[in-house]
């Protein structure tokens, strides 16, 4: 009988994700539509908890969000933000702006970021994805899809 020693070289350590069900335009998931009225504040779209095993690791984050601008002659800006730790007071690790123009306009926004973590004081880290509408004269609706995923990769 042979003994086998298996030495594993894992690069992709963890993968977590969140999505609507079904993850489609005008989804019937009760999480949508999320209505962004003029002058409203940031709204939470999704949160994912990534287990952190190493003192130093990198987390590859990506997200896709489907929006519908009811009516906008003026550019209606959506600011997407990823925060680490807390949806209000956490560190902003990423933000980007996307616009819809004309009425009505459908827009799909996709983005990626790599967050580097050193000596994080917990065995897991939560990322929050938020959106805020700026300069919109009418409502902007988040209608789906919403995908948010994080992959922890060993350095």
């Amino acid at each position: 009988m042979f003994n086998t020693f298996i030495i594993q070289f894992d690069k992709l350590i963890h993968f977590v994700f969140d999505k609507l069900n079904p993850n489609i335009s005008n989804s019937t998931d009760p999480r949508v539509p999320i209505v962004l009225a003029p002058d409203s504040g940031p709204k939470l779209l999704s949160a994912i908890e990534v287990p952190i095993e190493k003192k130093e690791s990198i987390v590859w984050l990506s997200a896709t969000i489907g929006t519908f601008v009811e009516d906008s002659i003026n550019p209606s800006r959506l600011i997407f933000t990823i925060l680490r730790g807390n949806p209000n007071t956490g560190n902003i690790v990423f933000s980007t702006a996307d616009s819809g123009q004309g009425g009505p306009t459908y827009r799909t926004s996709t983005f990626t970021h790599v967050d580097q973590i050193k000596n994080y004081p917990s065995s897991k880290v939560t990322y929050y994805l938020t959106v805020q509408a700026v300069d919109n004269s009418e409502n902007i609706n988040i209608i789906g899809p919403i995908s948010f995923n994080g992959a922890e990769i060993k350095k």
Binding site: F2, N3, T4, F5, I6, I7, Q8, F9, D10, K11, L12, I58, W60, S62, I73, N74, P75, R77, I79, F80, I92, V93, F94, S95, T96, A97, D98, S99, Q101, S109, T110, F111, T112, H113, V114, D135, I153
Partner: protein, 158 residues
């Protein structure tokens, strides 16, 4: 007794981001101002170590930009994003795509986010591969690359 090495499908990962990687980042690499005459501008370069003789390299990028036109009815402002294996012009063009933003108005300018995805197949054995991400604007008044800029490459075992 036998010894078995078990490797992930994901063999290597390389990335580059602005610091901080946000809209209107304070990173000195941005803003990058583009006009119809500024030509091809470098956004990011990454070098990925390779373990396998044949590999699939999954490339992805995110770029945030602002169209500075003050007139909403201005024609759409187009930009071509390219990924070169190696350096621009001397390397191999492996991917390109074109995206547009339309002019702003008195409320402000139009901000857009572009995301790119591509799989590059490496068939020639080499220890590493460098990819260069560039942007070139045409038919525009003025566009600024303001952040974020994310560029990633993952070696996947075929």
């Amino acid at each position: 007794m036998s010894l078995q090495f078990d490797f992930d499908k994901l063999r290597n990962f390389a990335y580059d981001t602005l610091k901080p990687n946000i809209s209107d980042s304070t990173d000195s690499r941005v803003p990058i101002h583009l006009t119809s005459t500024t030509g091809e501008k470098l956004l990011s370069t990454i070098t990925l170590p390779l373990e396998n003789q044949k590999a699939a390299v999954w490339l992805s990028a995110t770029i945030g930009f602002r169209v500075n036109s003050p007139v909403p009815s201005q024609p759409p402002s187009a930009m071509r994003f390219r990924i070169w294996r190696g350096q621009p012009d001397t390397g191999t063009l492996v991917y390109s795509t074109t995206d547009s933003g339309q002019g702003g108005d008195s409320f402000g300018s139009v901000s857009r986010t572009t995301n790119l995805n591509h799989i590059d197949i490496i068939k020639t054995p080499c220890k590493s591969v460098t990819y260069t991400l560039t942007v070139e604007a045409f038919d525009i008044v003025s566009i600024s690359i303001i952040g974020p800029i994310t560029f990633t490459a993952a070696e996947i075992e075929l």
